[in-house]
Symmetry: C2
Subunit: 313 residues, 2 copies
């Protein structure tokens, strides 16, 4: 059977938990870092190439179909992340729904209560937060990509999160970029109208036009395949017209509040290492034999930072 490419997610490959582009094994000999495929590079990784996210930064969204694991980014949106932690501890989202799925764009979840109707109480969480669209570049370890894109002065990664920055003319601002799997906080017209109760996750072509127009708070590490297949809503903006079409959320908890034996062990490839640079290069110029013309380029949102189940032992 013919395939569009050797863009593989091997069923036997524990290292490729997410749909990492290019988990295919190349037949080419590994003569130098630059000629190894992504999978060969990951196979050669050491424990120090991986980091284990802080359980206080992980959200588990449990659906009937399985668990979505989200990593929060307090370095980018500290007030929103603190509020989301409070909301999760209070069980805010338990029993609420995913109430919107717009094709090639986002899914959204939270409290769909209509205007004028009292919403679900938010307990000790704050109703009002400042906008956190970007932050000072100072104090962030930004690992730049070799390629530019048209959306920002520079693109790269901060602790595994796709990010962009503008340090021209002393601007000195950095922000989380809208890529597949990015988690953001829905807002109304006022920039400071988000409080983390209504959250969206990008399921379509990277909507980078949203960057610096809304507060981004994290990214999905595992379980995108549970969200990306939700039927598209037929109402405006992909909202479901019939409440029965909404997908129930059993519960959303912080991993740190979950008993150890119920946690989902995950590790994320570090993005500040020579190995990561080699992985990026292996995506910029595909080395497996299928490709006849390596692109010599990659966009920020084409890079899926590898996530794995930690090896046994």
């Amino acid at each position: 059977m013919r395939q569009p490419m050797r863009h593989a997610l091997s069923a036997t490959l524990a290292a490729c938990v997410l749909a990492l582009s290019g988990c295919a094994t190349s037949g080419a000999p590994a003569t130098a870092v630059e000629t190894r495929s992504t999978q060969e590079l990951l196979d050669a990784s050491t424990p120090a190439d991986w980091r284990t996210p802080d359980p206080a930064n992980l959200l588990y969204m449990d659906l009937a179909g399985g668990r979505v694991v989200i990593e929060l980014a307090p370095a980018f949106a500290p007030e929103h992340v603190a509020n989301i932690r409070t909301l999760a501890r209070g069980g805010f989202w338990n029993g609420l729904t995913l109430y919107r799925s717009q094709d090639n764009f986002v899914v959204q979840f939270g409290d769909i209560t209509e205007e004028g109707v009292p919403g679900k109480p938010i307990g000790s969480a704050r109703a009002k937060l400042p906008a956190e669209f970007d932050r000072a570049s100072a104090g962030l370890a930004f690992h730049a990509l070799p390629d530019a894109d048209g959306w920002s002065a520079q693109a790269g990664f901060v602790d595994g999160f796709p990010a962009a920055r503008d340090d021209r003319k002393g601007a000195g601002r950095t922000w989380l970029a809208h890529c597949y799997g990015t988690l953001g906080a829905g807002r109304d017209m006022a920039p400071d109208s988000s409080n983390g109760t209504e959250l969206y996750i990008v399921t379509g072509q990277s909507p980078r036009q949203l960057d610096r127009n809304i507060t981004t708070v994290g990214r999905v590490l595992q379980g995108m395949d549970l969200l990306s297949v939700l039927p598209r809503g037929t109402g405006p903006l992909g909202f479901y017209e019939d409440p029965k079409q909404r997908t129930p959320i059993r519960r959303i908890r912080l991993a740190s509040e979950v008993p150890a034996n119920e946690r989902t062990p995950l590790q994320v490839l570090r993005t500040d290492t020579p190995l990561f640079d080699a992985v990026v290069e292996s995506r910029r110029n595909r080395r497996d034999d299928w490709y006849v013309r390596p692109a010599g380029h990659i966009d920020l949102c084409n890079i899926s930072v590898p996530v794995r189940t930690p090896p046994a032992g």
Copy 2:
């Protein structure tokens, strides 16, 4: 309720058949072309701004859930398109399946018959075709975007199809780009191993690394929401492990072979007009009040060329 943006597909808006980004109506006054929103521009369009695709270039894929409408691009892959027409006339795909869905990448359909087992007969279609990865730029009306991307010397549109070209140093080559909804012909290791029987459609972040590595043959005009929600296959590359998970294809026909009263009337916004330039500008710099920081940029694959049901009368 809070929204990630005014990225609207109005239920009452016949002009927005596809999930066009930015069908929201702006509250801003229309003082000049450059300040109008996408929707205001479309509302002001004239019949001459739209084209009706040739029925000989339209494929109807009928699924249990509805119809997917695909426009073929004979200008880019004449031999593949001719073969696909022959295959459709012979009913080749009728009763076959969508047998692969890889998250954030592609769905694929055709004859999943395994290696070594005789496949479904292809009738008078050709088993062997040349690779048609790109073509000469000469003779194509390429309408360039104002923005560059890192994937090609120039990005733009040809008759509504996202395209890229390299005319530097006399290269003079143009190709259909891999964006959301692009249709391509799966191949094996040999560049000339595709014949159009196995086709894939992009459902994830634009995999531009495939450009000029495989033959692209068209794009989906309507019905992406039927394909993008197919459960992801859990086998390698998103192939379904259980044949029962495959989605049956009732039939694929050329619109020109379908009785007029069973056709799906569609028009596509022309991409070689001042109106289209204004639409692009309205996407580069969002004018509705929700945005506090227009991007001043857009990538090729962020532009969904509007498709509509022709207005009555």
